[in-house]
């Protein structure tokens, strides 16, 4: 299956969950393809966002965003996220790690919501607007964390087989929860191997095919974010991206690297062999 074919199943207005964490293992090749396809009004659900979220916002594809963090970690703020939220151009709902995980895990437990005292008293809870109710067991005040069920989850993994049995390596973040709770799950994978060759043991296949719908092979598909153990993040590329943004030239970046190229392979060609060799482990 090609990136294009996989993207076709994402519609305008879908709730799209993006895996990885900040500058680690983001499904960038899939997001580039989505930008080329020009999907609009997407609702993003992201645990820790970085270049993924910033690029989609810069492309004008995002109607609303639910996230617990958006930034470039050691490189600082995410400029397009920041200005879009400050100017009210997108509807941003700030979550915490827990509020996202609890909402996703409600699906996993056949629960309508997760009742907890966590976040009571904070302004995060106020802006989430979640309902407080009296516990039927103790009468105490509890927050009802409602189910979060994304339409599609996009995850980039290190290895998988054609059925979707995958090994997600290094920092996992909430990728397994996203796969289990989203209606459809699309994996891009550094490599697709035969069944039984994903990992040395069945315990290392941590994302089984029962939770996966489509797989696409996409080497270096997380660039400029990292994909342990194959390559680290291309901070040099991200610094250059942030410089485009600082100068108000993010559209030039998009034209040059995303909209103006045929495919993610062409993008990698533009990035260049020298730059790529810098990040290879």
């Amino acid at each position: 299956m090609s990136l294009r074919e996989a993207c076709e199943c994402i519609s305008d207005g879908d709730v799209l969950a993006i895996g990885g964490l900040t500058i680690h293992r983001k499904p960038m090749s899939m997001l580039h393809e989505l930008i080329r396809l020009g999907r609009r009004g997407l609702s993003l659900l992201v645990f820790g966002g970085g270049p993924d979220v910033d690029l989609l916002i810069a492309s004008g594809m995002v109607g609303s965003l639910d996230a617990a963090y958006v930034g470039f970690e050691i490189l600082g703020f995410a400029p397009n996220f920041r200005s879009a939220v400050e100017r009210g151009e997108i509807k941003f709902t700030e979550h915490t790690e827990y509020s996202i995980m609890a909402g996703l895990q409600a699906n996993l437990l056949n629960a309508e919501f997760i009742p907890s005292r966590l976040l009571l008293g904070t302004d995060v809870l106020k802006s989430l607007g979640y309902k407080t109710f009296k516990s039927p067991l103790t009468g105490e005040a509890l927050v009802a964390y409602p189910r979060i069920t994304p339409d599609v989850a996009l995850l980039h993994v290190q290895r998988c087989d054609e059925y979707g049995n995958a090994k997600v390596d290094g920092v996992l973040a909430i990728d397994l929860l996203l796969a289990k709770s989203s209606r459809r799950v699309i994996l891009t994978s550094e490599k697709i191997v035969s069944a039984g060759e994903v990992a040395g043991s069945p315990f290392e296949v941590n994302l089984p095919s029962t939770f996966v719908d489509m797989v696409v092979e996409s080497p270096l598909g997380a660039h400029p974010t990292s994909c342990y153990p194959y390559y680290t993040y291309d901070l040099w590329h991200m610094i250059s991206y942030l410089e485009y943004c600082r100068r108000g030239m993010v559209n030039d970046y998009l034209r040059k690297y995303v909209a103006g190229v045929e495919s993610f392979e062409s993008y990698l060609d533009l990035v260049g062999e020298d730059a790529l060799s810098r990040i290879m482990i």
Binding site: A68, E73, V85, T96
Partner: protein, 289 residues
Amino acid sequence: MAPWTTDELMIVCMAREVENGDIMAQGLTTPMAIIAYYLAKATHAPEASIMQLAGNIMVYFDEPPQASILYNEYRAMEHAVHIFGQNEVYETIFKRADSIVEFFRPGQIDKFGNTNNSTVKAGRTVRLPGGFGIPDASPLYKKTLIYCPRHERRVFVERVDHVGGLGLNLGGATSGGREIRIISELGVFRVDGRSGGMRLMSLHPGVDVEDVLSNTGFELSIPENIPETPPPTSVDLRLIREKIDPLNIRRLEFLSGDDRLEALQKILDEELRIWRSSNVNRPKAQQML
């Protein structure tokens, strides 16, 4: 040996908060925390375990690894004993809050220890990256640990603009008998249930109490005899400078703007140079796919 610097003193103060056997957890982008954890484990807390990279990678080591920007995940995975999904990180926090050490770096902190990494009002409303797990986890610990490389009035505010991590005046789902410790570039501070707000516990050597007062946006409780923060030992300094952070990544937490970018780029180039020279004959992981 060159005299200690503020970043080194702060790291030593942070390491001192760890007890042997503790679980040391690292959130996003807090390099000083990981350096402090490596130091604690290499000195007085050899049985402590580390949950690194947003807590996902549990690391054990005999010799402390070197702090890294480019190879952070790679180095942690070399010493990994278990990989946590983020939900398992929280399962650990919910079960073991009393033995977990975690350092948070807030955008704002107020008199009662409330913290904010979400939005600040600086004329206009400025959007920060977000509190991530701070509002969830920080009130659950018996000892909430904060570090502030920049002790400024815009950080130490009378009232945070947005309550993320709960302090001790607002109730909520916090741990009983809890206290909050703050290690800044100027001194060590505490908020607990008994005092009416933040109290100075010790001043770093060479810092004047006036420096603290003029850089704090609220009334601090100041003891009559102010203790001095004990300085780093030569063992601490040698470990930090030679073993754990020879690249001086810790300094990044004190810089901003172009200075920071320049320092960062120097570190990246140096890391890459060392990597390449020590891995000349190593097959690329990508080729092993």
